[in-house]
C-alpha cells in the first residue's frame, strides 16, 4: 500500500519544486489511488500516509488554480515563446530590455548615534600607537642547525600528521561524549593553561570543518556543544565548513574558577 501512495506523494511534490507542470498530474488517477487504499488503512502510519497524499494533492490543485490565474493575467506569455525570444536576443538586447524595466532601490549608508557611541568607546579603549608599536627587543644571532628531536621539542614540527592529530582528538571526543554524544564547548576545549585551550579550540575548528564533529548552539540558553560524529565523512569533494570560534581569556578564567 505504502509504496504506491508514496510514489503519488513524490509525484505531487515534483509540482511544488517546479520540476513538472501542475497539469501534468492526472487528478483522477491520484484520487483513484488514494480512494483504493483508504479502506485498507490499518494503523496510524497508514492513516498519516493517506492524509499526506491528500494534502499534497490539494497543493497540486492550488498550483493548478494559480497556473490558470497566471495564464489569464496580463503577465502570461507562452514559456516557449519567451525562451525562444531570449535565445534570439543577443546579450546587449537582453540587458537593454532589463534596464528599461529596472528601477533600482536608493540606499544610503549613514553614521548613527549608536555607531558613533560604539566608535567613541573603541577609541577610549585603544592603546596609544607608541605603546602598541614598541620596538621589539631583538638580538642578532648566528644561524645554526637543529635535530628533528629539537624541532619537535620546540613545537616547530608535529610528531604526527595532521590527519592523525585530528583522529586522535576525534577518538578523545568519542570517549568523553560517547559515540555520537555531545559535550559542552568549554568543557571540551578548556585546559589548565590558556595556551592549551586556544590550541584545543584551534584543532576543534578543523574537526568541525573536516566532518569529525559538529557544533550546536542553543540561542535561548546560549550553550554551545560539540557533537561527536560517529561516521566522519572524509570525502575530499565534500564542501568544508568554516567555523569561527571565540576563545575569550576572561571566559576561560571564569571556566577555570568553575
Amino acid at each position: 500500500m505504502s509504496s504506491e501512495l508514496e510514489s503519488v506523494i513524490s509525484l505531487c511534490r515534483m509540482v511544488q519544486s517546479g520540476k513538472i507542470e501542475p497539469f501534468d498530474i492526472d487528478f483522477d488517477y491520484v484520487m483513484g489511488v488514494i480512494r483504493k487504499h483508504y479502506p485498507g488503512i490499518k494503523d496510524v502510519k497508514d492513516f498519516c500516509l493517506d492524509a499526506e497524499a491528500l494534502k499534497e494533492l490539494s497543493n497540486v490543485l492550488e498550483r493548478q488554480n494559480r497556473w490558470i490565474e497566471h495564464k489569464s493575467s496580463t503577465l502570461y506569455k507562452d514559456p516557449f515563446m519567451l525562451s525562444q525570444s531570449l535565445m534570439r536576443m543577443d546579450i546587449g538586447a537582453v540587458a537593454d530590455a532589463f534596464l528599461k524595466s529596472w528601477h533600482p532601490i536608493l540606499e544610503m549608508e549613514q553614521i548613527s548615534a549608536r555607531t558613533l557611541a560604539e566608535s567613541l568607546s573603541y577609541w577610549g579603549g585603544l592603546i596609544p600607537l607608541d605603546e602598541r608599536w614598541q620596538e621589539m627587543d631583538v638580538a642578532e644571532r648566528e644561524t645554526g642547525t637543529a635535530t628533528m628531536k629539537e624541532a619537535h621539542d620546540m613545537g616547530l614540527v608535529l610528531t604526527e600528521g595532521f590527519a592523525q592529530l585530528l583522529e586522535g582528538f576525534w577518538r578523545e571526543l568519542g570517549e568523553r561524549a560517547g559515540v555520537g554524544g555531545a559535550v559542552d564547548y568549554w568543557d571540551w576545549i578548556g585546559a589548565d593553561a590558556y595556551r592549551d585551550t586556544v590550541y584545543r579550540a584551534y584543532i576543534t575548528v578543523f574537526m568541525v570543518s573536516h566532518g569529525y564533529a559538529s557544533v550546536s548552539h542553543d540561542r535561548l540558553t546560549e550553550e554551545t556543544v560539540i557533537i561527536h560524529n560517529p561516521d566522519p565523512s572524509l570525502d575530499p569533494e565534500r564542501p568544508k565548513v568554516s567555523l569561527p570560534m571565540m576563545v575569550d581569556y576572561e571566559e576561560w578564567r571564569q571556566w577555570r574558577r568553575g
Partner: protein
Amino acid sequence: MAARLTKTERAYARKVKDAVQLLFFKHHRLPGVRGWELRKELGSDWRNVLDVLDKQLKPLDLQVTRAFDEPDVVEPTSAQLQDARYYVTLRGTVDQKVAKTIGWRIDDIAGLAVSVAYLISKQGKAPRADVERVLEEKLPGWRVKLNVDRYVQQGYLGADEQGVMYLDWRSRAEIDTKKLVDLVVGFGKKDREAQP
C-alpha cells in the same frame, strides 16, 4: 480656518521629513521599511504621507515603491499593506553606461534578465539546475554559478532547501516584470512584421 490649514500642512511637512529619514537611510540589514513601522512613526495617515512624498520625489525622478512578501498581490488588504516593505526607487530607468558605473557588467545584467524572465515563464519557481542550464547557453559555465550566487546574495533570486529558485524581494521591489516580459517577447517583432 486658514490657521488650522497651515497647522495641518506643517504637520504633514514634518511627517514627510520623517518619512524621508525612514525610507532613505538604511535601518536594517535589508533596505526598506515595513508598513507597520511607517504607521508607528508617521501615524494612521501614513499612506497619505507616502503619497505626498511620492509627489515631491517625482521631479527628482524617484518614487516610493512597495513590495509584498507574497507574489501576485493585486488588491492588498490592510494587513498586507502593513507587512509590505516600502522603498525609494528610481522612477525612470538607467542606461547601460550608468549601469556600468554602479558596478554592473553587461553580462551580469543580461544573466539576471534571463533568470528573471525564465522564472516568470515557470510561474516564479524552477530548479536551480534549469536556471543555470538556460544561462549556460550564452555564458561560460564558471561564470553562471558565480552570477547566480551573486543574484541570490543581492536578493534578486532566492533558493529553498531543495534548490528551487524563486524571485526574491529585490526583484519584486525593483523590476517591472510585466514590462520585461513584454520587451523580451516583443523583441524584433517590428522587424519581423516589416518583412514581406
